[in-house]
Symmetry: C2
Subunit: 245 residues, 2 copies
């Protein structure tokens, strides 16, 4: 299976490497000179857009402009897939800026270089069909399964709602605790050590990913409000308990 | 070494069992009928208070009243230790309600039945000397070391400040996310799974422990304010990013 990866940022490089390890022939294009994984051929923008399967691995906030510009250059028979951490908007952009004839699949590999460090086995990947499901969709699904991934199929909205209250809240907590200046301490409980690991992992990802996860997920605002309400409730209950002293 | 454990709640039972496994002769007293660990002898309140070493394992909020009542019953040569998750107030109460001649040590085993499930090796325990350090203090320290614990010696205030920003923040985050109604989802990222484990572990502890960790730690209020300020900052930054769309 010949695959083009458009964008070799932190996730793109990891994804290109993973696909290559899974036996795919991987070509990749990157605007800037990043580290190119072994067995991945760096090619021109024109060439990557002619690959039979093209994974876009660009930041959510850049994706619309990229599609607008390169949409007309995509190969007539190429299958286009995104890897964005939100799904409603990117799917809409793919529908808008790619030819009606282009076969489209929205995906979200729910892992990255950190969580996938020890292999991909059992890690979840979401697939949202955009074009009518046919053998091209099945081919991709088979590829993911052969990589040991746990394939979850759902609509873009279902994904975004679930993701806001899982990945979204995790990144929000990680960034908040990092903002608090949390550091390691010799008296750390096991729970605190685990919390520190979450801070480290979420803050290892680009800050742009954090903003985009929150801005481009239609359910993120509601999630943040729910979090604020929960904090208020806990603080009120604590205030009542303190009054008892 | 003969040890009395006063209180057989969730932590007290675990602690009595751990001491017994470490080779101590353990007697215990409990107001209500709890499950008594193997090799631990259930005795009367009078008897437990005559043990050479007495660990109090009662809730923070009950400790002052218990000490007030049983202080006069403590054996003349008994060494008294607490196990509270905060140290400033309990140390003060021990100074106030126990005879000046009673040898006192404040301790905080920074683990519980969940985090200590797979053994105590390497887990931290804090010791704050109240009475002048002598061979009795050394005996206890040696016992802890023989259990594989990581003994950390510091003042009550140092402990409380560090604990507010580690154990305190962990429990606050766990309770908040639980209040949000966080549940497992098939699309959980590794980070979210780790966060769920923290929620589970902190909410497994009695609610009273959560309140007491926050009410009786002189630094907890400041910690909560710092957390609220951090959330505000993140939300403001997000609002600015959203304006850019």
């Amino acid at each position: 299976m010949k695959i083009g990866v458009y964008g070799l940022g932190r996730f793109g490089s990891f994804w290109a490497e993973s696909l290559s390890k899974a036996g795919c022939e991987v070509i990749a294009y990157s605007r800037s000179a990043h580290e190119v994984p072994e067995n991945v051929a760096l090619v021109s923008e024109e060439e990557v857009l002619k690959a039979p399967y093209i994974f876009f691995a660009v930041t959510i906030s850049a994706f619309e402009d990229v599609l607008k510009r390169v949409g007309p250059m995509v190969g007539k028979d190429s299958v286009v897939l995104d890897t964005c951490s939100v799904k409603t908007y990117p799917s809409k952009w793919m529908r808008t800026y790619l030819s009606e004839d282009t076969y489209k699949i929205a995906t979200h590999p729910m892992f990255g270089p950190d969580s996938g460090r020890n292999g991909l086995k059992g890690l979840p990947i979401v697939m949202c069909p955009i074009s009518k499901v046919d053998e091209r969709y099945q081919m991709v699904k088979e590829l993911f399964l052969s990589m040991g991934l746990d394939v979850l199929e759902m609509s873009e909205r279902e994904h975004d709602e679930e993701a806001a209250y899982s990945q979204g809240v995790t990144h929000f907590v990680g960034r908040t605790l990092n903002q608090m200046g949390m550091t390691s301490t010799p008296i750390a409980t096991q729970g605190y050590r685990n919390l520190m690991a979450i801070v480290e992992q979420t803050c290892n990802d680009p800050l742009q990913l954090f903003y985009d996860l929150q801005r481009y997920n239609p359910y993120a605002k509601e999630m943040r409000l729910t979090l604020q309400v929960a904090i208020e409730k806990i603080l009120n209950r604590l205030a009542k308990e303190e009054d008892k002293l």
